[in-house]
Amino acid sequence: MRRLSIPLRALLITVLAIGGTFGLDPFRNYQLATAAACFAAVAGLTVLVGLTGQLSLGHAVLMASGGYGFAFAASAATGPAILVLAAGLLGAVAVSGLLGLLLGLAAARLRGPYLAGLTLALVIALPSAANTLPIGGDQGLRAPFLPVPEALTALIAVEQWHAWLAIIVAALAVTPLVMLRSGRAGLRMRAVLDDETASRLSGVDPGSVKTGAFVASAVPAGLGGAILAIATQQVAPGGYGLAFSLLLVVAAVVGGLGSIGGAAIGSVLVVFFPWVVDELVAAAPTDLGQRLDGNLAVLVFGAVIVAVTVLWPGGAARLLDRFLAARPRRFATPATNTER
């Protein structure tokens, strides 16, 4: 039953979100596309951290790999826009899945801080890698521009069209993840998180579960990168730096580890929050404003994370649950076990 209901629910949310784009102006739609990209990546990350306890600080690199995969495949493809899009998405899935597999193989042998260190090194290595590999250096690669289809040109602007694509791709990325999480694979991940020895005794191989979880987490992140490539028509290492990678972790933590709904809240927060703070700074007197510009967002953000983790360790998702229904989620996720 549930296997049917998840795609249905996803479809409903997707349609609602697409309807919602009509209420937004072009810039807000562009921000929505960015948030959708973050959502895909954060959903992957939150499942990885929340369900298997593997902390990845390098999801920005997985996003970037998806973006590069998209740019390469979509630029190589010719034909109607839908083919270009499909080729690009396949490229994103292939590249990010492969990188996720490699990382996952390493992850199965590493624990906690060592895995975090490995993934962190990946983020720091990205600019050098971009300058060494034939992927365009600091200036990055161009991704093809996907114009609004003829039939819709009178109705929607290009930003809104890209927001639609972003929502659809995010849905394609996250829905399988949700199904995976609530199915057997999810059970295995929880078993491995709870006790590796016990799970091994019951015939679950922790190594392959962890590797599988990493791949399952990498592919949505890669599709997130593809969304950004669609919205911005380019992919460059500068956009996937350490700060952004940590921001993804922040989104997962603030939203509530393991919760997909929380990932959505967290992503919207990390996309809109810096912008809101910047607007506030711009409204401040020029002298003060210039001094705060670019710095205040980081400061306030740090304060918010500290506050959230102290006050509501379960993140926004848990808080939302309490407000909405006081009904515990099925398969409530232990959110405090991540240090294992």
């Binding site: 409903l12 562009y30 960015t34 600019p127 809104q160 380019q234 500068g238 670019g294």
Partner: protein, 416 residues
Amino acid sequence: MHKRHLTVAAAAVLALTACSTPSSEESTPGVTDDTVVIGTHQPLTGPAAAGYSAISAATSAYFEYVNANGGINGRQIEYIVKDDGYDPANTQNAVRELVTEDKVFAVVNGLGTPTHSSVLDYLDQQGVPDLFVSSGSLTWNQPGVYPNTFAYNADYVTEGAALAKYAIEQDPDAVICVLGQDDDYGDGVIEGVEDVVGSNTIAEVQSYATSGEDLNAQIGALMSAGCEVNVLGTINGFTAMAIGTAAQLDWFPKWYVSSSGADYPTLAGFLGEELAPVLLEGMVSVNYLPFSPDGEWVALFEEINAEYNDGAPFTGNTVFGMSVGYLFAEALAAAGEDPTRESLVAAIESGELLGNGILPLSYSDSDHAGYRGVGIATVSDGVQDYVDVAYVVSAGQVDAVEPDPVPLENDGIPGN
């Protein structure tokens, strides 16, 4: 129950469709009867903020000066500066916000090669005039591909070629070496030097990354190659580091520096006021803007800087920022009483804009480069000024020309 509520909400949202549909209004974005709104992306924070963050402040100060004197054709210029931290991803956000939220008339002087490259296609798709890009990359001069994009800086190849030409004229037998940044900038300067002396006769080519901590290895290699003239395609911080590192090794070759890394006040800030006149004595550089300390443009810009920029330190970046502002004001004045994006681009392509450089601008409908030539400047007794030599570079050919500085007219307010 919940679902019904949601459906109603969705219907309500759908009813708001008007908010996002493409606008079909006829009026020119950013232009009203009494204002013109333009925007830019600048590195106010981040790795390139040192020095470059002063540019937009200077441009804003110049526009305030123009506005205080009645504006252009009765319109006040409103200049929106967005910080992108020299990060292409931020540039994307900033420029989209400028175009879709602030509805700017044009983007003026967006700074940086990697940053501006990331919005080049977007601005082209949106038909937004993309004026006077603050970078010496050749990318901006492609009228066939980007009809609304105009370069401003003399490109790096031109600068490298002019420096090499002057070096050879000073001493035909000099051993010439190059130290360049490992991107478009350094590559361009190297290409320019090669155009003049031939790739086999550059004794040594070294490069550095901006993330590097020191230049010991590079300077050591140049020194052991016996270089006499070092052509630098470096930003200010690394120019100072190169000269300082060499001095520590008791090595004092001749330094020939590209305009982006040869601003005397900025270099003096790095090297210290006491050492700078000694270490920088005889440094050769190229430029195309009127920074001569006793010139009339500098006098005006210093006045504006004191009155509208809180007396911020007056450097080459100040001159650059105000000169860009002046050129935009001139273009806006030439675009007519009721400027449109088309008339603005046409005004620049007409080739009638003078700017304030020491050489004429080269804009035409088939050429979107700003300055195709540069003048040679040297440092003497702690004062950086032009010597009477200038070169124009076209298709690898370097020709000496007479400098032809544009005189200051009408207190630096175009079009009245």
